[in-house]
């Protein structure tokens, strides 16, 4: 009975791992195949042909798309963290009227359906002359990165010891000095986690990137992959798509695995605690 239980348990474990990992593994296998080999189903890699990778990086605008994604995601994160740190200090540490209402509003914005602001943002971005530029994307991504950043940093900031802040107050520190000289050095782990999660969010975003860019050279990676087409209109270049997918996903997976504990903590702070 106990042996059977153990066997069943490990079967479940194996099943979980296989289901989680297999699709991406299959993408890697596919990305090394060219020509007619693509149209045979292989569960094990037969050849390692880098032709797809070479093509995707040489032809078209894909390297440019990667650069766009990096620029947009980095700027978005920087912007959100800068606004988020000061705002979360106010929300976590200062007593003022309407604080709870404000927190709930921010939470509400983070749940916003993006499509509901699409029309208005489209007008705004055109009005500001940011259409088809990275800045338009940075601006629009603020709608989901900023509330998230503020919310998670507020929960982190609440847990910092009160007495340290009071010691700084007695030492004559202003709120700005408390943030920059006392709290920021203590918050690096939180900043890394929040920044990483916001980065992933911006890196993966599709709806705004699809709507607010119109040329190949300004697109970000997700849009580029979605719109990647082959020589003819009726032929989907699966090999290229898989190679591009692997290129943009592997760094992300490595980052996530390195920071997995922190990410889980960040998700829990943002999710479970509210």
């Amino acid at each position: 009975m106990n042996v059977l239980k153990t066997i069943l348990f490990y079967l479940a474990v194996v099943l979980i791992v296989v289901v989680a990992v297999f699709p991406f593994y299959y993408a890697i296998v596919t990305s090394f195949k060219t020509g007619t080999a693509l149209f045979e189903v292989d569960y094990w890699p037969r050849e390692f042909n880098f032709q797809n990778y070479i093509s995707v990086m040489q032809q078209g605008e894909f390297p440019r798309n990667i650069l766009n994604s990096i620029v947009v995601a980095t700027l978005t994160v920087g912007f959100a963290l800068f606004l988020g740190v000061t705002a979360s200090y106010a929300l976590a540490r200062v007593r003022f009227r309407g604080r709870t209402l404000l927190l709930l509003t921010i939470l509400g914005v983070s749940m916003f359906p993006q499509i509901a602001v699409l029309a208005g943002l489209f007008e705004l971005i055109r009005f500001l002359g940011l259409f088809n530029t990275p800045w338009g994307l940075v601006l629009s991504y603020t709608i989901f990165t900023l509330p998230f950043t503020v919310w998670v940093l507020t929960t982190f900031m609440r847990d910092l010891p009160v007495e340290i802040e009071e010691a700084a107050i007695v030492d004559g520190a202003t709120p700005w000095q408390i943030i920059t000289k006392v709290f920021l050095p203590l918050m690096w782990p939180a900043l890394v986690t929040t920044g990483l999660l916001a980065f992933i969010g911006a890196w993966n975003e599709f709806l705004f990137a699809l709507t607010f860019t119109s040329s190949n050279s300004t697109r970000t990676v997700p849009v580029a992959i979605a719109l990647l087409s082959g020589a003819s209109q009726f032929e989907t270049p699966w090999g290229l798509i898989m190679a591009a997918s692997v290129i943009v996903t592997v760094p992300l997976i490595i980052l996530v695995l390195i920071f997995q504990r922190k990410i889980v903590a960040g998700l829990t702070a943002g999710g479970v605690k509210g």
Binding site: E163, I164, E166, A167, V170, D171, A173, L186
Partner: protein
């Protein structure tokens, strides 16, 4: 130099009153201890003096000047926190120098003051370490050192010893007493729930209960002339014996109180007789628990070394001049 006056100081959080009208004068250079059970408002009162909390009503005066609304850093105070509250990412030196750096003092002046304070507390060899590399006792010294560097007029301690183990607590207590002697001009206010700390450190003690001052006085005044049942029971270790009912009525009181050292074993001319139900020998003293028919057995500190076996019937006599009498409301009858 600072004389502190509190005039009908009140503090409430919403509808909850925490400090219910405190009038108090703390003299220049005095070591004042706030003591009381947890929840009595002693820490809140300290934080009001520090300026970390707003005073709801009443006046707080430093040297006759109202400072209710003055920022903590401008009051000339320094504070030592219960958890030490050292900045974890700064070395000991920077922890101690932080306040002066913010005040834009010159680097030479900062170095001189930090090193002087460090020498005084014997932590000058630790200046390059981070707080996490220090023991609890060393952290406490750094916290005190950080306060000294500020060269305060008023030194505030919020239960600074409660995170230390028993042996270290006694040593640090002596250290603080020494500090008080060396810094004659500095007024010190010290919050604790431990009446032994209060008795050993204080010039004067302020006993608080439920946001009100019960009694202010020197340790011996409080010990010898408590003005309420509460203070009588709170100050002194072991606790004062309280006897109610008929025995107390024999003294025209609702409750009588007598300390264990003010009772003598006297089989010849006893006031009460009773059985020894328990005995504790602490080496220096021998304490007898004698059942004289009151609610709880009374504690008697026995002179001499004659062993009295449990269960023995003995006579005890209180020293009448040291007997405290209280009425129904807990007020003393004098």
């Amino acid at each position: 130099m600072a004389e502190i006056q509190l005039k009908d100081v009140r503090k409430s959080y919403g509808s909850v009153d925490v400090i219910k009208g405190v009038d108090l004068e703390i003299r220049d250079g005095e070591f004042m201890v706030f003591v009381g059970p947890s929840g009595c408002g002693k820490s809140t009162l300290l934080r009001l003096i520090a300026g970390l909390e707003d005073i709801t009503s009443g006046d707080l005066l430093f040297d006759g000047k109202r400072v209710n609304d003055l920022a903590p850093s401008k009051r000339g105070i320094a504070m030592v926190f219960q958890s030490y509250a050292l900045y974890p990412h700064m070395k000991v030196y920077d922890n101690m120098a932080f306040g002066m750096k913010l005040a834009k003092a010159g680097p030479d002046e900062i170095r001189r003051r930090v090193e002087k304070a460090a020498k005084m507390l014997h932590i000058d060899h630790l200046l390059d370490r981070l707080p996490k590399q220090l023991s609890g006792g060393q952290r406490q010294r750094v916290a005190i050192g950080r306060a000294i560097v500020r060269d305060p007029k008023v030194f505030l301690f919020d239960e600074p010893l409660s995170n230390l183990d028993a042996a270290l607590r006694v040593a640090t207590r002596l250290e603080i007493a020494k500090l008080h002697h060396e810094m004659k001009n500095v007024t010190m206010i010290y919050v604790t729930h431990d009446q032994v700390e209060a008795m050993t450190l204080a010039d004067r003690i302020c006993v608080l209960r439920d946001g009100l001052v019960m009694q202010v006085g020197t340790p011996s005044e409080l010990y010898e002339r408590p003005n309420s049942l509460f203070v009588a029971g709170f100050i002194g270790s072991p606790k004062m014996n309280f006897v109610n009912g008929q025995i107390a009525q024999g003294f025209n009181a609702h409750t009588i109180g007598i300390r264990s050292e003010h009772m003598v074993v006297d089989n010849a001319d006893p006031v009460w007789r009773g059985k020894v139900v328990h005995a504790e020998n602490l080496g220096s003293d021998n304490f007898l628990f004698v059942d004289i028919g009151s609610e709880e057995p009374v504690l008697v500190r026995q002179e001499g070394k004659t062993a009295i076996p449990w269960g023995a019937e003995i006579g005890v006599r209180p020293l009448i001049e040291n007997l405290h009498r209280f009425d129904e409301t807990g007020n003393p009858i004098r």
